[in-house]
């Protein structure tokens, strides 16, 4: 653990001054190797605590595994992007990405609320560098908004943490670690727990792209370079999920447990609803995908809220969504290469122009709309099953109705790219097939989730929701 | 067994002759022999034929299919409380559908010529055919209900108009059968075979392009249908327990009365306006439903 941070820090510093692409690639490779060592290490030493503040629990290991896959793909796509399509400098970008990944590792593994929060702050810092990559007015605006609203979110989250801190009496010689908070929460003042949960949820919702603070994440996803959007929309979102999940763990089993669940469901439904409105309205490919993230996180929030087997579903959903959404965001860049725009109205006939990419779009659309063999099918099935079992008919009907519109919008708009349209200008640049194969692999992973009904992943999830 | 079948064949030879003769007498002419229509058919059998260039093989086969359909459906109709040649549960469904098959082939054959007149005739024929069919099924349903049996032979063996309230039912259904027969054979008041204007024809306009042997077959089909319906009428009206000799007499009487009736009707009644036909045909179904109510009263389902 310690070695990981040291090596990463050194790598980030070196990267920040490396202009040579090849050398930079070697450094990135080193980082990925470093990360994979950590994953293996974490997996072998599951349950162990290192450096006092970091524990390799089920949640952490799952998230680390996801990160390894997406990060490796993100590096490959980033280098292609930097060398072929962007005229901006490599060093800052790569250093920023590595920094972001490193701080995300901190979020995933920390067993202490304060530490988790600090690392979340660090992600905001690093990701702002990446969003600002283009240095355009738009980039500036998105970065400013992201940083500003995230900061407010982080401040609110900190308020929440302080409220949680208030339940720890000074005489107790304990820190704000999750295990101790969990122990204390059982006898704590419910009002404090509620306020704390509420503030922290709102604060973390910036990261998880959940209502109410989802707004800037959408803009960030739109503006950031696509490989970064992929990371924001999956790994960053996962970090928000981890934070909220840890919070939920604390209040679970206390008197406010049910209340917290309801708040989550409330927020989840609103998220799906808002996502539906914009999925129907938006005509920008990247924004579409960003809103689809909002929709999926809404579902995850609902799943977390229902509890029980749905919590398992939430993890399956997160895993499958990570693979699918990253693949789609990576693919977005190739679509842009082909058509020179993100405007959906100006795309068409992708199936003829570049069929490998079209397959990614098609399978991704099917996957993200939760048709089998997408892993999302499993999770949504379980979510709705538990919704119905709990006799929450209203929520079921509303969610399904809204979800149908989401699916309609996503499938329709994504597939419109594939089929012919009269007025479509094609740039004539051919995207890289190797990248498409990577994306197909990612989509394939999400399909594997569907079939993996027992084995490693399942035991990890069971470990996580224990 | 075959007696009924032969009777039907024989009666069909005379039927239209009688009708024509009555019509002539009613309009003050002497009229031709009752065998004249049959002679015409025989003459047509020996003639050559002109086929439209537009038409295909189907057009040549259709009259054959139509007449065989009628001949086949005649096989299930019994006579005199005896058995039909074929008798099985649901044979009247077969009967109706076999007739429909004949109609279907004639309709598409008419469309095969590409003539706008024949298309028009075909269109009317289908429309009237489909409006008549429910009436027949209601009637058979009622008969099946009160007898508890499901084939022509069994039903007519059990359906006894004498000594039962069902005389009323028998008369009602006889009326219905006559109407159905008139529609099936394209007679008044739905269609007028002797009309002069193609625009007002139904059946006649469908066969404008048929000639020679095929036209003979078509005429023969019409004759056969009359024989067929006369037999059903006899079955409805005459008690099955009577001896076979009486039955033959009765059948002859029914054919005679029926043909005279048709002749008189055609002499003194005008054809419906085309637009009036569908509502008129719906009254057939209404008649059938009336029969249902009567039957329900008879078996005391309605107190």
């Amino acid at each position: 653990m310690l070695y990981f941070f040291i090596i990463s820090t050194v790598l980030i510093v070196v990267m920040a001054f490396t202009r040579n692409a090849l050398f930079s690639k070697v450094l990135s490779l080193l980082f990925v190797a470093n990360l994979s060592f950590l994953v293996v290490h974490a997996f072998c030493k599951k349950g162990a605590t290192e450096l006092v503040y970091f524990t390799f629990d089920g949640v952490g290991v799952i998230m680390l595994g996801l990160m390894l896959v997406v990060a490796a793909a993100a590096y490959v796509h980033s280098y292609y992007y930097l060398t072929h399509e962007s005229d901006r400098g490599i060093p800052l970008y790569i250093a920023g990405l590595t920094g972001l990944l490193t701080s995300l590792v901190g979020v995933y593994l920390s067993n202490n609320l304060i530490v988790l929060w600090v690392f979340l702050e660090a992600t905001t810092l690093t990701v702002s560098v990446l969003i600002y990559h283009h240095r355009s007015t738009h980039a500036l605006e998105a970065t400013w908004k992201y940083v500003f609203v995230s900061s407010i979110g982080i401040a609110l989250a900190y308020m929440g943490i302080l409220f949680l801190g208030a339940i720890v009496s000074p005489s107790d010689d304990i820190t704000l670690s999750f295990s101790s908070l969990e122990a204390l929460a059982a006898n704590a003042n419910p009002a404090y727990l509620r306020i704390a949960f509420l503030f922290a949820l709102v604060g973390f919702s910036t990261k998880m792209e959940l209502f109410p603070m989802h707004t800037v994440g959408i803009d960030a996803n739109t503006i950031a370079p696509p490989p970064i959007s992929a990371v924001i929309s999956t790994l960053m979102v996962n970090s928000g999920f981890v934070a909220i999940y840890r919070l939920l763990d604390i209040v679970d089993g206390t008197v406010v447990g049910q209340w917290a669940s309801n708040v989550l469901i409330f927020s989840g439904i609103l998220s799906v609803l808002i996502a539906a409105t914009y999925l129907l309205k938006s005509n920008n490919l990247k924004r579409m995908l960003a809103y689809s993230t909002l929709e999926n996180m809404g579902l995850v929030a609902i799943a977390l809220g229902i509890g029980g087997v749905a919590r398992y579903a939430a993890f399956v959903h997160i895993i499958a969504h990570t693979f699918l959404k990253s693949a789609l965001f990576f693919q977005v860049r190739q679509v842009h290469t082909t058509f020179g725009t993100y405007d959906l109205a100006k795309m068409g006939g992708y199936l003829r122009t570049y069929s490998a990419g079209a397959m990614v779009v098609l399978l991704g659309a099917i996957g993200i709309a939760a048709f089998p063999p997408s892993g999302l099918f499993v999770s949504e099935l379980l979510i709705f099953k538990s919704l119905l079992l709990e006799q929450r008919w209203t929520i079921f009907v509303v969610t399904v109705l809204v979800l149908l519109f989401c699916i309609y919008a996503i499938v329709q708009k994504l597939l419109l790219i594939l089929y012919a349209k009269e007025t479509v200008a094609v740039t004539g640049v051919r995207p890289s097939v190797y990248l498409s194969i990577i994306q197909l692999l990612l989509v394939g992973f999400s399909f594997v989730v569907f079939f993996a009904r027992d084995g490693l992943v399942l035991s990890l999830i069971n470990d996580a929701i224990k | 067994m075959m007696v009924g079948y032969l009777l039907m064949l024989i009666s069909s030879i005379f039927f239209l002759g009688i009708v024509n003769r009555i019509k002539s007498i009613a309009s003050g002419r002497k009229g031709s022999s009752v065998l004249q229509p049959f002679r015409d058919v025989l003459k047509l059998f020996k003639k050559g034929a002109v086929y439209s260039e537009t038409s295909s093989l189907l057009f040549r086969v259709a009259p054959t299919v139509a007449i065989v359909a009628v001949l086949t459906s005649m096989l299930v109709v019994p006579f005199a409380g005896g058995n039909a040649v074929f008798s099985f549960s649901g044979d009247f469904v077969f009967f109706a559908y076999m007739l429909a098959l004949g109609r279907f082939t004639m309709i598409i054959a008419a469309l095969d010529t590409g003539s706008s007149f024949e298309g028009m005739g075909a269109n009317r024929e289908t429309l009237y055919g489909l409006l008549v069919e429910p009436a027949f099924f209601v009637m058979m349903g009622v008969l099946a209900m009160i007898t508890g049996l499901t084939s022509f032979t069994e039903i007519f063996k059990a359906f006894n108009t004498i000594g039962d309230y069902s005389l009323l039912l028998g008369l009602l259904f006889s009326y219905l059968v006559i109407l159905i027969a008139m529609v099936e054979n394209s007679r008044l008041p739905v269609d007028d075979p002797k009309t002069h204007l193609e625009l007002t024809m139904v059946h006649e306009v469908m066969i404008l392009d048929n000639s020679g042997f095929d036209l003979g077959l078509i005429h023969l089909t019409t004759f056969l249908k009359f024989g067929l319906y006369s037999m059903i009428l006899t079955n409805l009206l005459v008690p099955p327990t009577w001896a076979i000799g009486y039955q033959v007499v009765c059948f002859t009487a029914v054919v005679a009365v029926f043909s005279v009736l048709v002749g008189l009707l055609e002499s003194f009644r005008a054809r419906n306006k085309m637009g009036k036909n569908p509502p008129y045909l719906l009254t057939l179904t209404a008649l059938g439903l009336l029969g249902l109510i009567v039957a329900l009263l008879i078996i005391q389902k309605i107190a």
């Binding site: 199936l351 048709f371 | 020996k46 309709i107 429910p134 209900m145």
Partner: protein, 658 residues
């Protein structure tokens, strides 16, 4: 049946993504044969007890599932139709080779195989998860198949709307399973018997009915069907109409087999919806001018007929009339089989027409009988059969249903009598209407003089004709030897909740069907005899050819023929209240002495489509779209949402609403 085997086989077409287009067909048909072999071997094992495969071979030995009689029945028709249509596609897709890319063709091939596999899984798997997953896989693979020509805007729209409506159905089925799961803790079909035994039957049945009815196309849930079928390539329409919509019926059958009480209510619901469905379907079929739309609506009609059979069966259970229940179910199952035979045949015929003329509009067709004699003949036989006319197979199933109605009239109470008689009356009406619809389809599209020049039209190739010939053979065989086939499907019928001694019920029916074979043979003999006489009589006379008799008017053009629209006009004027025909034209102005070129367009709308699907969803979508007001671009608003959220949660908490 080894599921792992089946699934691994289904991935074979992935090779077509790397192989040239010419090889795709070979891969597809080989895979489908393999799939058919595996699944039919499973059926064979189930019947004979002899295992053809060692179940421990393969990836998961525990996934070895023995199909029961109903599954077996469906597996057979699925394989039959899928194999034949794939063979047909070899000819049908030939023109697309030059315009479609390799990926598109490979995707199509893969989806064809997956449609077959997923349907086999649907009818085999009884556990809820497996069933729902394969159900969705079926939806998605058929969706991709429908989207084959999505470069046309219309097809694209139709495809999406198809997918969405199927998804709605999926949620209903899911809800049904979960309801049963809540009480029994078993997720799947196995739970239903237990659930129905303990709880009221109608609500859960209704949920399932909506879910499965959407797939099957019961009115008013049919709105996807008449659009999706024409949009799909013809071999796909054949599969969809021939077997895929039957999957909805399969699900319904499974549910019905578990029903424990409320037979009368469920029977009434089934019967009335089915009657509405069949009448609505056939009435709409008459109005259409798109050949494939006629066929699509006729599918709805036939689904209705199957439903009538099922409803009668339930009425029989309620009243305790064993022959009513037996005939109802037997008729339903037999009609499923029959429809799976003649509908693909007709769709293939329509596909051949489309391939040759590039139009499905009957008002532009006609005169094909000279250029495509085989296709025309096959289509006519299919039409006769679908109208339920003897001596072909369509008649047999309708006869069985009629038998159920008529054999059980005596001794019923008034309520049942009225229901039976009116259903028989309506069924007869449907038969007549079907004749109307198909005489129009055959007469306008195939016969008569060409309405548009047919210079480049050629008869379909052997790949396209052979599958149709196989189907026609089946049509004739079932028509003439119905007893054989009824005996073969008897195990499936025995799965239904029959009342009384099935044997008592089945004897008269079988006897009747035996007679039908003889009388049908007589019919054929009669035709042979008359034709023989005819040819003898015509030997010595002059047979000549001439123009169609124009009643003195010699300059008859092909435009003056009856068209699809004019043919149905007499009916439309009768059925005005339920048939909506739209007319678009610009009326001439007054004193318009030199009118400009005008246009006249007619079309038909489905009332239910407007009422149930189009308007509500459009309105809701508009509403939702209008609610998109949050992403304003102003930071202060974004912060406001957070504040409002916190406040509203606080307020809700304070009032104990959360």
């Amino acid at each position: 049946m080894n599921i792992s085997f089946l699934l691994s086989a289904a991935f074979l077409p992935l090779f077509s993504f790397i192989l040239p287009k010419g090889r795709h067909f070979a891969i597809t048909i080989t895979t489908q044969l393999l799939v058919a072999f595996i699944s039919i071997a499973g059926v064979f094992t189930a019947y004979s007890g002899v295992s053809l495969f060692d179940s421990h071979f393969g990836i998961g030995g525990d996934l070895n599932i023995v199909p029961d009689a109903i599954s077996g029945f469906f597996i057979l028709i699925i394989n039959l139709v899928c194999l034949l249509t794939t063979a047909y596609s070899q000819g049908y897709l030939a023109p697309y080779f030059s315009t479609k890319g390799k990926t598109e063709m490979a995707l199509h091939a893969l989806s064809l195989v997956w449609l077959q596999v997923s349907m086999i899984l649907v009818v085999t798997l009884k556990d809820g998860f497996g069933f729902l997953a394969s159900w969705e896989a079926m939806t998605i693979s058929s969706f991709i198949l429908v989207m084959f020509e999505a470069n046309k805007r219309e097809t694209f729209k139709v495809g999406i709307s198809y997918l969405m409506q199927m998804h709605v159905g999926f949620f209903f089925i899911l809800a049904g399973f979960v309801m049963a799961y809540g009480k029994t803790k078993v997720f799947g079909f196995e739970a239903l018997t237990e659930y129905f035994a303990l709880n009221s039957n109608v609500p859960l049945f209704l949920i399932f009915f909506v879910g499965f009815g959407l797939k099957a196309g019961f009115v008013p849930l049919h709105t996807w069907l008449p659009n999706a079928h024409p949009a799909a390539p013809s071999h796909v329409s054949a599969v969809m109409s021939g077997v895929m919509i039957k999957m909805g019926l399969y699900g319904l059958v499974r549910v019905l087999c578990s029903i424990q009480s409320s037979f009368f209510e469920i029977g009434i619901i089934l019967l009335s919806v089915s009657l509405l469905t069949s009448i609505w379907g056939v009435v709409s079929a008459i109005v259409q001018k798109d050949l494939k739309k006629v066929l699509a609506y006729s599918s709805i009609e036939n689904i209705g007929i199957v439903g009538i059979g099922l409803g009668l069966g339930f009425l029989g259970i309620h009243t305790g009339f064993s022959s009513l229940s037996y005939c109802g179910f037997a008729g339903a199952i037999l009609h499923i089989l029959n429809h799976a035979i003649f509908k693909p045949l007709l769709f293939m015929g329509a596909g051949s027409v489309y391939a040759a003329t590039h139009t499905r509009n009957m008002n532009e067709l006609g005169g094909l009988s000279h250029k495509m004699p085989y296709t025309t003949t096959l289509f006519i036989i299919g039409s006769i059969s679908i109208c339920g006319l003897p001596p072909f197979n369509g008649f047999i199933s309708e006869l069985v249903i009629y038998l159920g109605m008529f054999q059980n009239l005596a001794g019923q109470s008034l309520r049942e009598i009225i229901m039976l008689i009116s259903s028989s009356m309506l069924l007869a009406l449907v038969g007549g209407l079907a004749i109307f619809a198909f005489s129009k389809a055959v007469g306008i599209a195939f016969l008569g003089a060409p309405r548009k020049p047919l210079d480049n039209v050629k008869e379909a190739g052997p790949w396209m004709l052979m599958p149709q010939l196989v189907l026609v053979l089946l049509i004739v065989l079932i028509g003439i030897f119905p007893k054989l086939f009824l005996n073969a499907i008897a195990p499936a019928i025995d799965m239904f909740p029959l009342v009384g001694n099935g044997q008592v019920a089945v004897e008269p029916m079988l006897a009747s069907l035996g007679e039908v074979s003889w009388i049908s043979l007589t019919f054929f003999l009669g035709i042979a005899v008359v034709l023989f006489i005819r040819s003898k009589a015509q030997q010595d006379v002059v047979i000549s050819q001439g123009p169609t008799w124009g009643c003195g008017y010699t300059a008859v053009g092909s435009e003056q023929q009856y068209t699809s629209t004019s043919y149905s006009d007499s009916f439309v004027s009768l059925a005005k209240p339920i048939v909506k025909v739209s007319k678009e034209f610009e009326p001439l102005e007054e004193c318009d002495f030199f009118p400009q070129q005008g246009s006249f367009k007619t079309g038909s709308n489905d009332l239910f489509e407007d009422m149930v699907t189009v308007h509500p969803t459009n309105r809701l979508a508009k509403l939702i779209k209008r609610a998109a007001i949050l992403q304003t671009g102003y930071v202060q608003h974004y912060v406001l949402y957070a504040l409002l959220f916190i406040l509203s949660i606080l307020v809700l908490t304070y009032f104990k609403l959360l």
